[in-house]
Amino acid sequence: MKAMLIAFATCIVIAVIADIGLNRLGFSSSEQQSSPETVRLD
């Protein structure tokens, strides 16, 4: 039972770390689909 609860908690921790980590690394969908060149200044 303890192993199961620890595993479920680990699952949540990994998910949160993955979300924060991927966003920090610039892998968010919005960042992947855009670039500074997108905005036309002239």
């Binding site: 303890k2 192993a3 199961m4 595993a7 992947q32 689909q33 855009s34 997108t38």
Partner: protein, 413 residues
């Protein structure tokens, strides 16, 4: 009466004749199926779509469009000049044909790899398959699995211990094994539920709870599915490393399978730590899990990991698709097609694995007395171990007794 019969006969003759005169379709004529597009003669219209084209499209038949893709006036379609503005949008058949068949060097302010594919044919095939057969077959398959398990329970009942419990236990799974198992099980359940919500939400949740309720459910499902996937992949590696040695197929597995694991005969078939049924589940999970992970990662990073064009090239080289009559698989795929293939493969394998997991959960809980303890606290009743995994049990009991001293109290030598 006789007059009526004669009248009927007179009316029936032309009908029969008309039926007999109906043109018979040659056995090898194109049918307009997915792999067998209709070839339409457009010589009368100079290559432009004909009435036959329009009628076939209304029937949702697939048409061989190779002639339309080709430049009917000769030469390739010119590049789209600059951005699609007032000039670029001029009525130019080359330009529009290029856009229609994704055969032009369009530029776009959006920097996504797939942003310049303005019309994508394969998208409709994917959408129709996802919203049609995929949902229908998945629902039937999963519903059928649940029904089969319920029927099995009604017919066979709970598999109980045959002998009296000994009161002694033996360690079946260590804490780290149970942790790995529950990490895999927990993440898989979260992924399965959220995946099913994404697939069936529109037809199952929206009519039930409404759009407003489904919107946050869909957003949460996406977040969970995207991020819990890493826990699943980690657990898959853990499980593989810990249990692969115990899951190598052996000759005795054949005997176990031939006797159906003793499910109906009543007798027990000798088995090691994992019996043949569990080995089948293990390899299904590993193989299915790897496919889910690969397709899932390619979906997590859209358009970054195209793989099917290369894979199809290798498969075509084996001659297998050609031998089955489907012809070579396409080796030029738009970025979206690659993602759509990943999604279909991901969903089909996931549905199969959910069915396997349902059967596994059944036998590990209500289906068999004493089975849950193996993953609960890791200790199983000695009688249970002897009845279901006799070869492993003898070794495990001997090992336990060696560690603790003999059960009758005499110290181990």
């Amino acid at each position: 009466m006789l007059r009526a019969l004669l009248l009927m006969l007179a009316l029936a003759v032309p009908a029969v004749a008309q039926e007999a005169a109906a043109p018979s379709t040659a056995p090898d004529a194109p049918t307009g199926g997915l792999t067998d597009p209709l070839v339409i003669d457009r010589s009368a219209t100079g290559g432009a779509p004909t009435l036959e084209d329009i009628l076939a499209r209304q029937e949702a038949l697939r048409i061989d469009d190779s002639a339309r893709r080709a430049d009917v006036t000769g030469g390739p379609a010119p590049e789209v000049g600059g951005e699609l503005g007032a000039r670029g949008g001029a009525s130019d058949p080359h330009l529009w044909r290029g856009i229609r068949f994704d055969d032009t060097d369009a530029t776009s302010a959006n920097r996504g790899p797939a942003a310049t594919t303005l019309i994508q044919d394969g998208g409709m095939v994917w959408l129709q398959f996802r919203n049609g057969p995929l949902k229908l077959w998945s629902a039937w398959f999963l519903g059928g699995t649940i029904l089969a398990l319920a029927l099995f329970y009604l017919v066979r009942g709970r598999i109980r211990l045959h002998g009296a419990p000994t009161g002694r236990t033996v360690t079946r799974f260590k804490a780290v094994e149970r942790f790995g198992h529950w990490l895999l099980a927990g993440s898989f359940l979260a992924l399965a539920v959220t995946g099913l919500l994404v697939l069936f939400g529109r037809i199952a949740i929206i009519p039930l709870l409404g759009h407003e309720a489904f919107a946050p459910i869909a957003v949460a499902s996406k977040w969970i599915h995207n991020n819990v996937s890493w826990a699943f992949m980690l657990a898959l590696v853990l499980i593989f490393v810990m249990w692969v040695v115990h899951n190598i197929p052996r000759l005795e597995d054949l005997r176990w399978l031939l006797r159906g694991g003793g499910l109906f005969g009543g007798g027990h078939v000798p088995a090691r730590k994992f019996n043949a049924g569990q080995k089948l589940i293990f390899w299904s999970v590993i193989l299915g899990g790897v496919i889910l992970s690969v397709t899932g990662v390619s979906l997590l990073f859209p358009f970054q990991l195209p793989m099917y064009a290369g894979l199809f090239d290798i498969v075509n080289a084996t001659g297998l698709p050609q031998a089955t009559g489907y012809g070579p698989l396409p080796v030029t795929l738009s970025p979206q097609e690659d993602m759509q293939l990943a999604q279909i493969i991901h969903a089909v394998v996931a549905i199969g694995l959910i069915a396997v997991a349902l059967a596994h959960m059944y036998i590990g809980s209500v289906g068999m007395e004493g089975a849950y303890a193996a993953m609960g606290d890791g200790e199983v009743e000695e009688r249970w171990a002897m009845e279901h995994h006799s070869i492993w049990a003898e070794e495990a009991i001997a090992d336990r007794d060696r560690r603790r001293g003999a059960p009758d109290g005499t110290p181990a030598e």
